[in-house]
């Protein structure tokens, strides 16, 4: 199990993956909107999306879990 966390505080702008989808290392799984910038959040591991914890528009703090991956 691998947790992908928000790299900084901001609002969830887009979720780019869906449950069951395979994710590669370095692939963006979500985009945050913070300080008026679009901040891609990349996965640092391979895996299958097990759970998506947030929805577009949610406020997240740095370190909040966005997506959980199951190892391949």
């Amino acid at each position: 199990m691998k947790k992908i966390e928000a790299s900084m505080a901001g609002t969830v702008f887009q979720i780019l993956v869906s449950v069951g989808e395979e994710v590669k290392r370095g692939q963006a799984v979500a985009v945050l909107e913070s300080m008026k910038m679009e901040i891609p959040v990349e996965s640092d591991a391979e895996g299958t999306v097990k759970e998506i914890h947030v929805r577009a528009g949610d406020f997240v703090n740095e370190g909040d879990v966005l997506v959980t991956l199951e190892s391949l």
């Binding site: 790299s7 900084m8 505080a9 913070s34 300080m35 008026k36 910038m37 679009e38 901040i39 891609p40 703090n61 740095e62």
Partner: protein, 510 residues
């Protein structure tokens, strides 16, 4: 007793062997080199002149008292070195060890030459504590000297193994700390001590490993995969620096830039979209000349040494690809330290600004973002080396100040056509000025249209040609012409020689 060279040779041979063979075996197991082999790799021709080889030579188990201190050449330049021998009492410091280190530091100060610390030591030899720890020429003097030497001569640390407890201050006081992955560690109290004293259970790697220090604590500047890479990196680092603060860095023959991305296509016009700042750096520096410092730490800002037309330059660049290029506590800290480093040794500074500002919110306020940001701004202000500020895209709020904006006496403030200088971006500004009015508009489409109209008005008000007409920037250049302009300007600014301020010492935020 024999008086001839036979006895001398026997002594030398025994001392140069270092500690017991079982400790040499251990070195091999851990992919570590013997101290004298490290020195051979470091110095030109593997050659060096050693001081104090015979320290404690009447004690068979203390060859050189666990440290080699020497003078040698790196690319023809004189350098002083202290190097722990971890095969002798785990590289711990006895009374003679400490005296030898102090003496080689004194030599470096007298000669005004760089000082290298090749660290691999378990810390104080507790059995010797009265002789090595508290007195006037005890271990404290090593750190005292380091502080005195800071900014006088380059101080370079390569960390091959542990640097424990007080010993951890040697890397802390160096200009750069190169750490060997998996083997290097830095900690005040070992995991064993942490468990005993505070009840924490933790591994050495987690608590004070090289990777942790290069990514989280910021105590490490360069993570090397093995000892050979670490030694090469130290030599390469030195090539950008002069021997001491009175001299200037060497100018090498220039090399062309890396042929890659079209810089004008690289930078998106939409200020909110990320791009990779490394590609812009590649497009303006001599190919292969980038030596990055703290690559893995606070990557939303990039700091590194490079050459443009053969001239050494220190680059401070926002990275919009990471955290939007926003400045945080650690990014401000990283940049401030790098600016102090370049300014100390006459390395011109180049700022590449694409910054939405300093981070806001509860978390960073509690961390003291204001004083850390102020520290970076203090570093930028007080740097008297040639400073060139390039506004690549947005430079909002105090971000403009931190990136050597016009008030901070850059010798040149350049704008790319994509530059946008403002207190804040259009979205934030319209919201700040018209918040009440926006709320009053009930129809959603009407509200959107109003916002769009006001944002466009704002964009026109801060248009880069209006900014240039007010002489806020000195010149506007296309991205593809940036390298040539920088190379020429760096040459013009070479004779800059100014003092910043008259006083005993500043009281900057830290």
């Amino acid at each position: 007793m024999e008086k001839g060279t036979g006895r001398l040779e026997a002594y030398r041979e025994r001392i140069c062997r270092g500690g017991h063979p079982k400790y040499h075996e251990k070195l091999k197991e851990n992919r570590k080199l013997f101290v004298r082999d490290r020195l051979k790799l470091l110095f030109d021709g593997g050659d060096y002149q050693e001081d104090g080889m015979f320290a404690n030579c009447t004690k068979a188990d203390l060859p050189a008292d666990g440290v080699v201190t020497a003078l040698g050449k790196i690319s023809g330049r004189t350098v002083c070195v202290m190097a722990n021998d971890s095969t002798v009492k785990a590289g711990s410091w006895g009374a003679k060890t400490v005296e030898k280190i102090i003496r080689i530091q004194e030599t470096a100060m007298k000669l005004k030459v760089p000082m290298f610390y090749l660290v691999d030591s378990a810390g104080a030899r507790i059995t010797d504590q009265l002789e090595m720890f508290p007195n006037r020429r005890g271990a404290g003097k090593i750190f005292y000297n380091q502080v005195k030497m800071s900014g006088m001569v380059p101080q370079v640390c390569i960390l091959f193994g542990p640097s424990a407890a007080g010993g951890a201050y040697i890397p802390a006081f160096c200009d750069i700390v190169i750490m060997v992955d998996k083997n290097a560690s830095m900690y005040l109290g070992s995991p064993r001590m942490a468990e005993k004293v505070i009840g924490e259970k933790v591994s050495l790697e987690e608590m004070g490993g090289a990777r942790m220090h290069c990514t989280v604590s910021g105590c490490g500047d360069y993570l090397a995969k093995d000892e050979e890479e670490a030694i090469e990196a130290a030599k390469r680092y030195l090539s950008y620096f002069p021997q001491n603060y009175r001299e200037k860095p060497d100018k090498l023959p220039g090399k062309p830039e890396k042929k890659g991305a079209d810089l004008e296509k690289l930078i998106p016009e939409n200020q909110n979209l990320p791009f990779d700042m490394y590609e812009l750096i590649d497009g303006i520096i001599d190919e292969g000349s980038f030596f990055e410092i703290k690559k893995l730490y606070a990557p939303e800002i990039i700091t590194g040494l490079a050459r443009i037309g053969g001239r050494a330059v220190g680059i401070v660049a926002n990275q919009p690809k990471v955290k939007g290029g926003v400045l945080f506590v650690n990014s401000a800290d990283k940049a401030a330290r790098f600016i102090f480093l370049c300014d100390a040794f006459s390395i011109p500074l180049l700022f590449l600004a694409d910054v939405p500002g300093f981070m806001i919110g509860t978390k960073v306020e509690r961390e003291g973002i204001i004083r850390h940001g102020a520290k970076m701004i203090a570093a930028v202000s007080s740097a008297t080396v040639p400073k060139i500020s390039v506004i690549v895209r947005k430079a909002y709020g105090a971000g403009l100040y931190a990136m050597a904006g016009p008030a901070f006496e850059p010798d040149l403030c350049l704008a790319l056509p994509t530059a946008q200088i403002a207190v804040m971006g259009p979205e934030a500004a319209v919201n700040a000025v018209y918040a009440n009015k926006i709320q009053e508009i009930e129809d959603a489409d009407e509200r959107k249209a109003f916002i769009r109209e006001k944002e466009n008005e704002y964009r026109e008000a801060i248009d880069i040609y209006r900014v240039a007409s007010e002489l806020i920037v000195d010149e506007i250049v296309p991205a593809n012409g940036l390298r040539r302009v920088l190379a020429e300007r760096l040459q013009f600014y070479e004779s800059k020689n100014i003092a910043f301020s008259e006083r005993k010492n500043p009281v900057y935020p830290v």
